[in-house]
């Protein structure tokens, strides 16, 4: 068919001419501003966190520009939407690096997107400072240009709870434990780590299971482990399944002596409203950042955030993204260079103070610190362990539902 041929020809010509036009445009660009490219999930499943990351990045840009930019160049962020799709994230970083010719890139939100994005950055020898890709899939690529700006890899984030349990005198320690976890790269591996650590010290596992992400009904699982009456329940969870498990426990009137969920209870704004404020006490969780944290510059960050965005609760993704900016800023100042290669080399040595704590990395970008253990005490969330950063002493056993 003749028309098909014409349509194709037009398509090809159009594609070629836009390409030519855009490469011509690249020649005549003013060079004083410094562009940093980021792909974020502004729509799709991760969009709330994507927007929280954007707030952190934008706040850092304001702060760094107020202090004269990077080596005198004002910073401009070029942010593309990846619709939470790994396919799109690959296109976006290629666009940012080869079309927009940005000087640096920062990471997107979630491990799912960070792993493919990091390989693209690596191919063009860009440093990949990333706030939210802390799962094993990212480090499994063994890339030398990745730097994760949280205190610990995600799967180690509950180690601090195991250390707390093992710090208790033997008579107070739980004897039996259940491990119900969500099938998610950020959830089940966390509980597996805790289980290995606790089993080694003789805490008996009476139940473990992994449930799929689309399980909306956790009542069957909870009724199963409630029947075994474990002293300790450790859930590798995201927020909703944690809420659902707690709801089911309340309905079944089962209250273990120790209760830890890797996510859910660490959200100070949402958690009480989801399970009822009278039911929160004695529940443990862990996290990388809290508003009251004593990390370097955190007070100033919280104040600047409130000034720019108002006094609402802060999603931890915002300070994580802010920390990515801080790391770049420190590395540029230290090397006195805008060269990605030099920055990668520099970041592999020394330690770097950020709102996420003092960070340092091994050769594949895993941070070498530890998260904070938090607990609900009298209706408020406090960091309780390790001691030197605690704002309240941990207490156990957990009171019955609706008490304490």
């Amino acid at each position: 068919m003749k028309l098909a041929r014409i349509a194709l020809a037009i398509g090809l010509v159009a594609a070629l001419s836009t390409a030519a036009a855009s490469s011509a445009a690249q020649g005549s660009r003013a060079s004083s501003t410094l562009k940093i490219g980021i792909s974020l999930s502004l729509s799709g499943d991760f969009s709330d966190s994507g927007k929280a990351a954007m707030r952190g990045y934008n706040l850092w840009r304001d702060v760094v520009n107020a202090h004269g930019g990077l080596l005198g160049h004002p910073v401009k962020l070029k942010i593309l939407d990846d619709t939470s799709s790994p396919t799109q994230v690959v296109s976006n970083y290629q666009n940012l690096i080869t079309k927009d010719k940005v000087a640096f890139v920062f990471g997107p939100f979630s491990t799912l997107l960070t792993a493919p994005a990091a390989t693209v950055a690596n191919r063009y020898h860009y440093a990949f400072i990333e706030p939210a890709g802390g799962g094993p899939a990212v480090f499994g690529e063994k890339l030398h240009n990745v730097f994760f700006t949280q205190p610990a890899p995600i799967i180690d984030s509950a180690d601090v709870f195991a250390h707390y349990i093992l710090s208790l005198p033997k008579s107070l320690r739980p004897k039996t434990a259940a491990y119900p976890s969500l099938d998610d790269p950020f959830a089940s591996p966390i509980a597996d780590r805790v289980r290995t650590l606790l089993e080694k010290k003789g805490i008996r596992t009476v139940y473990k299971t992994i449930y799929p992400a689309e399980t909306t009904d956790l009542a069957p699982i909870v009724s199963k482990y409630a029947a075994m009456k474990p002293d300790l329940v450790v859930g590798g969870t995201q927020n909703n399944d944690a809420y659902a498990q707690i709801k089911a426990m309340i309905q079944l009137r089962f209250s273990p002596k120790f209760l830890f969920f890797s996510n859910g209870p660490n959200d100070p704004a949402e958690f009480p409203s989801k399970v009822g404020p009278q039911n929160v006490n004695g529940i443990f969780s862990s996290g990388d950042w809290f508003p009251q944290s004593k990390a370097p510059g955190n007070k100033a960050f919280v104040a600047a955030y409130a000034k720019k965005y108002g006094k609402g609760p802060i999603d931890p993704t915002s300070p994580e993204a802010f920390a990515a900016g801080q790391v770049l800023q420190l590395a540029v100042a230290k090397t006195h260079s805008l060269d990605n290669g030099k920055i990668i080399t520099a970041l592999h040595k020394g330690s770097w103070p950020t709102v996420e704590g003092v960070l340092r990395w091994n050769s594949i970008g895993e941070p070498q610190g530890s998260d904070l253990l938090v607990e609900w005490v009298h209706g408020k969330l406090y960091p309780v362990y390790p001691k030197k950063i605690a704002l309240h002493a941990p207490f156990a056993p957990k009171p019955p539902w609706g008490k304490g």
Binding site: S43, G44, D45, F46, S47, D48, K51, D183, T209, I210, Y211, P212, E214, T215, T216, D217, A219, P220, I221, S223, K224, A227, N239, N240, Y243, A244, K247, I250, Q251, L252, R253, S273, K274, V275, G276, N279
Partner: protein
């Protein structure tokens, strides 16, 4: 044994809610040969409406059914008149599948723009309470939700069995051309049937938010369940949809406690494939002809 009985109770209660959503889906198919892929998205839309009514005006979700269902009914009639009626008849079936899919994406997009993707849940004062009956725990909200769904299903049955409108619907299901000859106003029956079909989604959706947390993307999982229910029950058969939904609820709950939660929804699919091998038309369906 105790756990299995507990799981069966839970399964029946859950199945009742799915039965309501699926009955509307299968009714719409029976009347107009349209698979409404947006049924799941409409459940989520209703869940958001009822959540908003509860959060801003303290309307109890079980009462908000009375507000949400008429709204969604009107939306359904509108969709039928604007989009589905105008499809050309030769390809209407497959095009309607795609157009309702587009509608589902559109609803997801609007909800995402308005409410973001944070999960919401309607937390009533009685959300966490439970009764103990013969040593078994029965969640109060699940029991209420089940009761509501049964009530709506009974209403639907009476409407189809006892009214003039119901007779014209059944006539259209059985034989569209002779219904037409008997003076049934096909356009009106279709529009009303579509409206009623989606209002069952609305009624179930209003209570969905009390049972489960949801976000705009939750409709994918819902629709895959609903479609498998209506296929198992036999496309067009309301009784089949109810039976299949209850079966799904029980199979999933029992497999979750006895084998592993990971395989619970998978086990239902296995049952489905096995039954389709024996009866490709489902429990109560008539064998379909080609397009």
């Amino acid at each position: 044994m105790h756990l299995v009985v507990q799981a069966c109770i839970l399964g029946v209660l859950t199945g009742g809610v799915y039965a309501l959503m699926a009955s509307g889906l299968t009714l719409v198919f029976g009347v107009m040969r349209v698979i409404n892929v947006a049924q799941g998205a409409l459940v989520i839309l209703s869940a958001y409406l009822s959540w908003a009514l509860f959060t801003h005006f303290q309307v109890d979700p079980f009462l908000s059914v009375l507000i949400v269902a008429p709204l969604i009914f009107a939306l359904g009639v509108g969709v039928q008149l604007v989009f589905i009626r105008s499809l050309r008849s030769e390809q209407a079936e497959e095009l309607s599948l795609l157009i309702t899919w587009a509608l589902a994406l559109g609803i997801e997009g609007v909800l995402g723009a308005v409410y973001e993707t944070t999960y919401r849940a309607t937390n009533t004062s009685y959300a966490n309470s439970a009764w103990t009956i013969f040593g078994y725990q029965v969640s109060v909200v699940r029991a209420y939700a089940f009761g509501l769904c049964v009530a709506v299903l009974v209403l639907l049955y009476l409407l189809l069995a006892r009214t003039r409108f119901g007779r014209s619907v059944r006539a259209t299901v059985q034989n569209p051309s002779s219904a037409l000859l008997l003076g049934v106003n096909a356009d009106r029956v279709r529009a009303l049937a579509f409206g009623i079909g989606v209002s069952t989604a609305a009624a179930a959706g209003a209570v969905y938010g009390v049972l489960y947390p949801f976000n705009p993307g939750s409709h994918y999982d819902l629709i895959s369940r609903l479609l498998s229910i209506v296929v198992l029950g036999g496309l067009g058969s309301v009784a089949g949809a109810v039976a299949a939904a209850l079966m799904m609820g029980v199979v999933e709950a029992v497999v979750a406690v006895e084998i592993s939660p990971v395989w619970s929804s998978f086990s239902y699919f296995v049952v489905l494939v096995a039954i389709l091998l024996l009866r490709p038309q489902g429990f109560f369906g008539a064998r379909e002809r080609t397009l």
